[in-house]
């Protein structure tokens, strides 16, 4: 019986054809999956087209060269908010990246026992902190140190760092864990102290992933509005000093333009949309930059 079956099956002509029902199921599932993919893409496409069509109107030289100082109605621009966003986010990056990467190195390379578990737990908790709470924290800290109601760009950076650090720790941790143990052993067996093997072997191997993790962190914070409204405040004028005075940022600029439309509401809405387009543009440029940096660090292959 078994022998005969085997001989029949080994004959290609008598191989069973694919059942029609299976073909149909395959087709149906494929269509459903593509439909859901399209559904997920729809809001994104809609968002992009809306922002571009409405934002392109005020995407002019004036928008990038003047602030809102003394502007009522049409005209004016967001150069102060663009600089504010770049400075506050940049400062947050300078604070978060070293702390986040160092914490990840500790967790992966040194962390044993209770302290590491506690740190992991705290990172998890920090990931869930509502951004307004981070803002209140920074507000409180600066009020205690510099007196109530103090507003500055660096206070905003610290609030944003609270949101960014857990993202950097988590992603860097994962990237460091991906570096094979063999690499660590190879370095140690060559007579390398641990710190030097981390610096010269493990961090370079994880660098592309760490860079994209940091960029992910920036994307997380660059659109934050609530904490900046609290601690960096808002101004119509240019302020390039993160340590002194209120500082405008793009998200807060969008909010205030939309919220305080004057009689010429079209002008205010136009500026808000253009600022939104600019914000998306910055995130896009960041992403491309991250990819380029990652490709550069990986060139030896």
């Amino acid at each position: 019986m078994g022998m005969i079956d085997f001989q029949e099956k080994s004959d290609l002509v008598s191989m069973p054809k694919v059942k029609t029902s299976r073909k149909v199921t395959d087709r149906v599932v494929k269509v459903v999956i593509i439909a859901f993919f399209g559904l997920a893409l729809l809001p994104l496409i809609s968002l992009l087209t809306t922002v571009i069509t409405r934002g392109v109107g005020r995407f002019d030289p004036t928008f990038f060269s003047s602030s809102m100082r003394g502007v009522v109605g049409a005209g004016g621009g967001a150069v102060h908010a663009i600089w504010g966003t770049l400075l506050i986010t940049g400062t947050a990056l300078i604070i978060s990246a070293p702390i986040g990467i160092a914490a990840a190195v500790y967790l992966v390379e040194y962390g044993r026992g209770k302290l590491a578990k506690l740190l992991t737990f705290l990172v998890d908790v920090m990931t869930g902190i509502p951004s307004i709470v981070a803002g209140l924290f920074a507000y409180a800290v600066f009020s205690i140190i510099l007196g109530p109601g103090t507003r500055s760009g660096v206070a905003g950076s610290i609030a944003l760092s609270l949101l960014m650090i857990p993202v950097v720790i988590r992603s860097s941790e994962e990237m460091l864990r991906l570096v094979p143990g063999e690499q660590r052993e190879a370095a140690i067996a060559l007579g390398s102290p641990k710190y030097r093997s981390i610096w010269r072997v493990i961090l370079p191997a994880a660098a592309p992933g760490i860079v994209s993790g940091v960029m992910l962190g920036i994307c997380r914070i660059i659109g934050e509005t609530a904490p900046l409204l609290l601690v960096a405040g808002f101004t119509d004028s240019m302020n390039l000093n993160v340590f002194d005075g209120r500082m405008a940022t793009l998200p807060v600029f969008i909010y205030s333009q939309w919220q305080n439309k004057g009689t010429d509401s079209v002008a205010y809405e136009g500026r808000a949309w253009s600022a939104a387009l600019m914000l998306i543009g910055i995130v896009l440029i960041m992403n491309i930059a991250a990819k380029l940096i990652a490709a550069r660090t990986q060139k030896v292959r």
């Binding site: 052993e185 370095a187 140690i188 067996a189 060559l190 390398s192 102290p193 990986q298 030896v300």
Partner: protein
Amino acid sequence: MMTLTTTEKTTFTASKISVSNFSAYYGRFHAIKDINMVVEPRAVTALIGPSGCGKSTMLRSINRMHETLPGARVEGSIRLGAIDLYGADVDPVAVRERIGMVFQRPNPFPTMSIKENVLSGVRLQGNRIGKSDGDDLVEMSLRAANLWDSVKDQLAKGGASLSGGQQQRLCIARAIAVKPDVLLMDEPCSALDPISTAAIEELIANLRREYTVVIVTHNMQQAQRVSDTTAFFHIDGPGLPGRLVECGATTELFSNPKESATADYIAGRFG
């Protein structure tokens, strides 16, 4: 001649390794027990035995790599010449500077070029090396690893771009570039094809003129081809520690084993 721009290191060359009453543990697990053996300088010593008999643990204990695993610890002593490698004031990093290691799977650093891989040991030990000295050292090490002729025109390419056998020779070049006294090899051919294996074995035959080589292998033919001395490790049962059954000149151990366990193993009756 090339000179390393470091303080001249006192050399242990031609010092024998003496292992006495040595035990190693992984947490509660007793991996090897009461090992006593002597590794002759400038010769090849093979550690053979069935899987799990502790031969790799023995090897990794010689350059204090064993203790880098969580929960690992040792008892007894291993001496290189007159120096107790496990002495209280001995820095394990200094031990590893003098006792190099080649692993089972080739593990060149993927972020470094071939040249940087060869120089990585010098740099990881915290030494700076000038360009011409570096070039000399790269050529010398790659020649010693029989790899120079095939990679001399592509030194800037990534170390991971080579074939498996070439990668392993690159790892050997990397290990000997720091001028160790002893070279430990943990089944260096088990991930390689027969042709690459033959190349590595030929290399080992050359290396023994300058280095003390200890090689772990589960290939008995390989042990006979490359080694001067063979040590046979064995476990008496699951969960029990590995022990050294006998150690002697390779030709003698394979032709005229003293212990019946050795005879059974080399005859292929188990393992």
